[in-house]
Symmetry: C2
Subunit: 104 residues, 2 copies
DNA sequence: TCAATATATGAACATATATTCAGGTGTTAT
DNA sequence: ATAACACCTGAATATATGTTCATATATTGA
């Protein structure tokens, strides 16, 4: 018997697709900047647009997909909508990537 | 003075682009399956193609981009070329993503 | 040298994705 | 009710990306 059978090396396509989808959320420059901002504190759309330097519409599109993946949570306060990252595990996963680039 | 100034919330575009690029390497189903296989052991192109279920050409294209990002390292042994992931930090970053999907 | 095997590459194509634009929804104040 | 503000949405477009196909390169054995 081998200590490492080939089946141990295979990740089923369904799981792999979900893993890819998760990382894809972090695979765009604007989204990285949005998420980085949200790791520090809750923010509304207008502030994020200002910080990242893209239109509120573009930010809103990104936040929608992040919401659909349940990576961010929205909270309305009057006219404004504040977004935050709820899952600490997601925050640390994301921050690991940032750290690796900032070297490491 | 505020304990959290807005500039703390901004990741410069250049760094963000690199972070995005890193995560983009993990953002495709086939690449996820290739990388998962390589986290368990060194493998050649033909074996990877068999495990992942795509052509050797497609695998080779993926490996090229992973090589260019220095996420995998190639080692030739006769006709075959074996690939592996050298950076333990990359392995753990990737595995964190897999774990998150497999829940948690 | 020639054939066989393993991998790499470039071009082409089809699909996915980010952004913009125009307009729509929801909330507050007058 | 209306205006102003904050955000959302769908369509359109431009660009990026994954795979295939044909062909090229590299290594080995006959």
């Amino acid at each position: 018997m081998n200590s490492t059978s080939t089946s141990d090396s295979v990740l089923d396509e369904h799981t792999a697709a979900h893993v890819a989808e998760l990382f894809r959320a972090f695979s765009d420059t604007s989204r990285v900047r949005i998420l980085f901002a949200l790791t520090t504190q809750e923010m509304n759309v207008n502030t994020l647009a200002g910080l990242v330097g893209i239109s509120e519409s573009a930010v809103s599109h990104h936040l929608r997909s992040l919401r659909q993946m349940e990576l961010v949570v929205a909270r309305r306060e009057g006219k404004e909508v504040f977004y935050r990252i709820e899952d600490e595990h997601i925050i640390s996963l994301f921050e690991e990537g940032v750290k690796h680039v900032q070297h490491g």
